[in-house]
C-alpha cells in the first residue's frame, strides 16, 4: 500500500466512523454484552459448542453423500433440488423458475447467500419485482445500500434516518417517528406487497439431509409469510448448510441466537419441510377457504457451490464452512464495533470470518481489501459457537495476499527485513513483520535511535515510506537488553530452588521494557525459583501478524531449538508478553514439526499465571508488594490473555495483595501490535482505544496496570499517567 492509498483508506474509515460509527458501536456492543449474559445461562454451553463443532466437521467431511441424501429426501417430499456451480448458474435457474410461474413479484426473507448471488439485480433485469420483507433489508433496498452486518443488516442506520427515508419515499399521511410507528408502517406496506406475491424466496440456516427440512432462524415472521402465502417456494443455501439429521439441529438452535444478538432464542425457529403440508393463501380469491395440505405447492432447493467445494479441499479455508453466520465474530471484535461491515467487510460478508468467505467465494482481491482489520486479538475464537480459528484464517489469507503482490520496490528495506518471505508482503508489513531486526538495531544505537526515530524528519519519512503514523510516539529502545542485564548482574541463585524457570526474553521486554523483566526476576526469585534468561530469538508473533507465515515458522523453529534442551532438563518457561504465551500454547501447534509443540503447550506459563501457581503450592505471597492502604487498580487484561482464560490469575493475585481491582469489558485496546501504528488505521485505533480509556477514567483508579505491551502503549497515549505491567506493581523492591 502506498502512502497515497493509505491516506485514502484512512479517509474512508474516518468517513464511515463519522456517519455510521455511533450506531454500529451501540448495536454491536449491545449484542456482545447480550451474548455474554445469554450463554452464561446455559449449563452445558461448552458441551453444546463441542457438539456443534463435531456435527459440522462430520457434515463437511461427508458433504458429497449428504448432498445426495438431501436430494433424495426433497424429491420424496415433492420438491426439486438444483446444484448451482456458481452465482450465474443459480441466478439462471431461479429466473427460469420465475418465468415458468409467470411471476411478476418475488418476496424474499433475509438471506446472505442470496446477497452473494446478487439475485435481486438478476431478477429485476428479468422484469421480476423483488421485495425484501425483512424490515432491515427492506430499508436497505429502499436506500440502495449494502448490509453493514450479516444478521442485523441496517444497524448503521439510526431511527431518524429511517424516518426520513420513509418520508421521502412514501410521503405518509401521518408523521412517522417512533420505532413502533415505523414498524407498523412497514408491516402494512409490506403486507400489501406480500398479498400479491407469486414466488417466495428464503435462505436456510440449516438443511437436514434425512428429512429435507429447512431451518430458518428469524424473529419478524416474514419468512413464515414468504413460505406460506405463495404457492412456489425457492430456498437458496450454500452446500455447507446441510446437517445429517433433524436431531443435529439441536445444539445450533440453542447457540445461534445467544451467540449472535444475545437472544436466548429468536421468536421463530421455523422447521419447514417443503413443499409444506399447509394450505396456500390466495388473496386474489377472497372467497377461497383456507384448507388442505398444499398439494398445489412447488418447491425448489437451490444448493450453491460457488467455490465451497474447493474450500472443502483447502486445509486452511475448510473451517470457514463450519460458520453458521451468527455474527458473534463481528460483535465481539473491537475493530468491527468501531467501523461495522462497510469497512470490515467485502462484497457480501463482513466481520472476522468474512475473510474466509470472501476469499473462498469471491477471491483474494476482495478479501485483501479488509483483511487487515483483523488484528489477531482472538476474542472471536471463544465467541464462535463452532470454535473456528478465525485469526488463523485471516493470517493465511493475508499470507496469500502478500504472495500475490509485486515484490518490486522492496529493495529499499531489504537490509532491514531479512525475512524468509519469497515475495512481497509490502513495505509496511515487512517493516512490522521484521520488528526483531529493528529492535536489535534500535537497541544497539540507543538512545540516538530513539531521538532519531521520534524526530520530525524521521517520523515524516517513516510515514511516507512505510505508513507508520507520525502521531504515534515510537517505542524507546533500551541500550542494554534484558538478557544482557541478566547475564551481567551479580546475583547468587537461590540454593535448593523449588522450581527452575526460563524467563523468556520476549522482544518487548528484551529491547524496550527491561524494567518489567527485572521485576519478574525479582518476583520469581523471592518466591524461591531459580531463573535463567538465555538469549532467545523472537517468538515469530510479529511476522505472523503481518501474514508472513514462513518467517514466523523459521522463528518458531529457532525458539524451539533454543528452549528444547531446557524443557528436557525440567525447566518451565515463563513469559511476560501475553501474545507470546499465545504463540507458544497456540500457533506453535501449526508452526512446529510434530512432537515439538507439546513441551511448549505443557510447560509454558504467563508470568502471573505462574506466580498464582507458586502461591497455590505454598510460596509466600507476603514476599510480593501489597497495597498500601486503600488502592484502586484499574486492570486491563490483554485480548489474547483473556481468550486463553488467564485474566483471572492477575486479578486474583492483585486482590490477594490487597488491591481493589476494577476491570473493563473492552475486548481489545485497539493498538493490537502494529495496527495502531499504521497510518491508515491510526484514527480507528484511537476510536477503539477511547472505549477503554473511558472505562478506565470512570473507574477513577489510583494505579493503572495492564498485561500487554500494546495495551500499555495505547493507554499511555490516551491517558495522562503511564501505566505499568502487573508484575511491576507486585514485584518486591
Amino acid at each position: 500500500m502506498s502512502g497515497k492509498s493509505q491516506r485514502s483508506r484512512a479517509e474512508h474509515i474516518k468517513h464511515i466512523m463519522e456517519t455510521e460509527g455511533d450506531a454500529v458501536a451501540t448495536n454491536t456492543r449491545g449484542f456482545n454484552e447480550g451474548r455474554y449474559e445469554s450463554v452464561a445461562k446455559l449449563e452445558d454451553y461448552e458441551a453444546l459448542k463441542d457438539r456443534a463443532r463435531e456435527i459440522k466437521e462430520d457434515a463437511i467431511e461427508r458433504l458429497p453423500d449428504l448432498i445426495d441424501e438431501v436430494t433424495e429426501a426433497v424429491e420424496e417430499n415433492g420438491g426439486t433440488v438444483y446444484i448451482a456451480q456458481d452465482a450465474a448458474d443459480a441466478n439462471r435457474y431461479i429466473a427460469n423458475v420465475c418465468e415458468g410461474e409467470d411471476a411478476d413479484r418475488l418476496i424474499k426473507s433475509k438471506s446472505m447467500t442470496s446477497e452473494e448471488l446478487e439475485v435481486n439485480e438478476h431478477l429485476e433485469q428479468n422484469a421480476v419485482d423483488v421485495v425484501e420483507t425483512d424490515l432491515g433489508e427492506w430499508v436497505l433496498q429502499l436506500a440502495e445500500e449494502a448490509p453493514s452486518h450479516i444478521v442485523a443488516p441496517a444497524i448503521h442506520k439510526s431511527r431518524e434516518e429511517i424516518a426520513t427515508l420513509f418520508e421521502e419515499r412514501f410521503d405518509p399521511d401521518e408523521e412517522l417517528e417512533s420505532a413502533e410507528e415505523l414498524t407498523m408502517f412497514a408491516r402494512e406496506r409490506l403486507g400489501e406487497l406480500i398479498r400479491e406475491a407469486d414466488v417466495g424466496m428464503t435462505g436456510a440456516n440449516f438443511v437436514t439431509a434425512d428429512s429435507g427440512t429447512i431451518a430458518l432462524v428469524t424473529s419478524e415472521g416474514n419468512a413464515r409469510k414468504s413460505v406460506t402465502v405463495p404457492d412456489t417456494q425457492i430456498a437458496v443455501a450454500g452446500v455447507e448448510k446441510i446437517v445429517p439429521s433433524v436431531e443435529d439441529l439441536h445444539p445450533f438452535i440453542e447457540l445461534i441466537g445467544r451467540s449472535g444478538t444475545g437472544q436466548d432464542i429468536t421468536s421463530y425457529v421455523s422447521l419447514f419441510t417443503p413443499p409444506i403440508n399447509s394450505p396456500t393463501v390466495d388473496f386474489e380469491d377472497t372467497d377461497s377457504v383456507i384448507n388442505g395440505t398444499g398439494d398445489d405447492r412447488d418447491f425448489h432447493l437451490v444448493l450453491i457451490d460457488n467455490g465451497r467445494m474447493a474450500m472443502r479441499e483447502d486445509e486452511d479455508l475448510r473451517e470457514t464452512l463450519y460458520c453458521i453466520r451468527c455474527s458473534a465474530c463481528s460483535n465481539t471484535c473491537a475493530n468491527f464495533q468501531s467501523v461495522g461491515g462497510h469497512v470490515f467487510g467485502g462484497e457480501t460478508y463482513s466481520g472476522g470470518i468474512a475473510t474466509g468467505w470472501e476469499a473462498g467465494v469471491h477471491g483474494l482481491d476482495t478479501a485483501a481489501e479488509f483483511n487487515d482489520q483483523c488484528t489477531g486479538c482472538s476474542r472471536c475464537v471463544e465467541a464462535c459457537p463452532v470454535g473456528i480459528d478465525i485469526p488463523w484464517i485471516n493470517t493465511v489469507v493475508r499470507d496469500r495476499v502478500n504472495s500475490k503482490k509485486d515484490a518490486n520496490a522492496e529493495f529499499l528495506v531489504d537490509g532491514l527485513t531479512p525475512d524468509a518471505e519469497e515475495s512481497g508482503p509490502g513495505l509496511q508489513k515487512r517493516l512490522f513483520g521484521n520488528f526483531e531486526t529493528l529492535a536489535k538495531l534500535g537497541s544497539a544505537f540507543a538512545p540516538l535511535s530513539n531521538w532519531m526515530a521520534n524526530s520530525p524528519p524521521a517520523a515524516r519519512v517513516l510515514e511516507e515510506v512505510a505508513g507508520v503514523d507520525r502521531r504515534r510516539p515510537l517505542p524507546a529502545f533500551s541500550r542494554t537488553t534484558f538478557a544482557e542485564w541478566f547475564e551481567n548482574r551479580d546475583a547468587v541463585p537461590p540454593a535448593d530452588p523449588d522450581r527452575k524457570v526460563v524467563l523468556y526474553p520476549d522482544l518487548y521486554t528484551n529491547y524496550m521494557d527491561v524494567e518489567r523483566g527485572k521485576a519478574a526476576v525479582r518476583t520469581l526469585e523471592a518466591l524461591g525459583v531459580e531463573v535463567l534468561v538465555p538469549q532467545t530469538p523472537g517468538s515469530g508473533r510479529a511476522p505472523l501478524s503481518q501474514g508472513m507465515i514462513d518467517t514466523a515458522r523459521s522463528k518458531a523453529n529457532a525458539v524451539a531449538d533454543e528452549l528444547g534442551s531446557y524443557f528436557d532438563a525440567g525447566y518451565d518457561v515463563v513469559v511476560i508478553e501475553p501474545s507470546d504465551v499465545a504463540m507458544f500454547t497456540g500457533e506453535y501447534e501449526r508452526l512446529l514439526p510434530e512432537g515439538e509443540f507439546e513441551p511448549f503447550a505443557e510447560n509454558s506459563y504467563e508470568i502471573l499465571e505462574y506466580v498464582y501457581g507458586l502461591v497455590a503450592n505454598g510460596a509466600d505471597i507476603d514476599k510480593l508488594r501489597h497495597a498500601d492502604g486503600d488502592t484502586t487498580v484499574a486492570y486491563h487484561s490483554h485480548c489474547q490473555q483473556r481468550t486463553m482464560g488467564l485474566e483471572e490469575y492477575s486479578r486474583t493475585i492483585l486482590e490477594r495483595c490487597g488491591y481493589d481491582v476494577e476491570t473493563n469489558d473492552v475486548e481489545c485496546c485497539g493498538m493490537a501490535g502494529s495496527f495502531g501504528y499504521k497510518s491508515q488505521f491510526y484514527e480507528q485505533s484511537i476510536d477503539v482505544g477511547e472505549n477503554l480509556a473511558g472505562q478506565i477514567r470512570d473507574a477513577d483508579p489510583d494505579v493503572v496496570v495492564a498485561s500487554g505491551t500494546s495495551c500499555l502503549d495505547q493507554i499511555d497515549d490516551l491517558l495522562e499517567e503511564r501505566p505499568q505491567h502487573v508484575i511491576e506493581l507486585l514485584a518486591p523492591r
Binding site: L135, K225, I253, N291
Partner: protein, 171 residues
C-alpha cells in the same frame, strides 16, 4: 405426546420462562377452555379445532376461514403440539386446517396447549422433531413470544406476525 412427564414443575417453569416475553399464561380445566378463550378475544377471530377432550372453541371463532376472513381477523386461536419449559416456547405444527396462516395473520395469537405436552428442554423437543419430521415430513414452528424486530431503532413487539401471545394450558 401423552407419554411425557406432567409434573407441575414443568408448568411452573414454562410459565416463568414464557412470562419473560410478556406472554400471558393461564392453566385451566378442559371445560373452562371455551370461556377462557372467549374472554381473551379481541376483534374478529378465527381458529383451528381443538383436539383435546372436553375443550372447545367459542362460537365467535371461525374455523376454515376464507381469505377475506383471514385478512379481517384480529385474533387467531390454534393448538400447540408441544411446549418447551426452559425456553418458554410453543411448537406450532402446520396443519391442513390452516394452523400456520391462522397463527401468523393476526394481532393476538391464542395458543391452546395440553399440560402433558410440555417437555423440559430443547433436547427433548428435538427427539420429538426427529421422529415426527422424518416420518410425516410436516413442518413446525418453535415460537417464543410475539413476533419482534429491532430494525427500526428499538425493540418492537409485533413485526409481521402477532403483537401479543396468550397461552392456555389445559390441565
Amino acid at each position: 405426546m401423552a407419554a411425557q412427564r406432567t409434573e407441575p414443575a414443568l408448568f411452573d417453569q414454562f410459565e416463568r420462562t414464557v412470562g419473560a416475553y410478556d406472554v400471558g399464561v393461564q392453566r385451566v380445566q378442559p371445560s373452562a377452555v371455551r370461556e377462557t378463550i372467549a374472554d381473551l378475544l379481541s376483534g374478529p377471530a378465527m381458529g383451528t379445532p381443538i383436539d383435546i377432550a372436553g375443550a372447545t372453541l367459542p362460537e365467535a371463532v371461525t374455523t376454515n376461514p376464507t381469505t377475506a376472513e383471514l385478512e379481517a381477523a384480529k385474533t387467531g386461536v390454534t393448538t400447540a403440539s408441544l411446549a418447551i419449559a426452559d425456553y418458554g416456547s410453543v411448537v406450532l405444527r402446520a396443519t391442513a386446517e390452516g394452523s400456520e396462516p391462522i397463527s401468523l395473520f393476526n394481532d393476538l395469537h391464542v395458543v391452546v396447549l395440553r399440560e402433558s405436552d410440555i417437555v423440559p428442554d430443547m433436547a427433548a423437543a428435538f427427539e420429538w422433531f426427529g421422529e415426527e419430521l422424518r416420518e410425516t415430513r410436516d413442518s413446525a414452528i418453535i415460537a417464543t413470544g410475539p413476533s419482534a424486530t429491532a430494525d427500526m431503532g428499538a425493540l418492537v413487539q409485533g413485526a409481521h406476525g402477532p403483537k401479543k401471545v396468550e397461552v392456555i394450558v389445559v390441565a
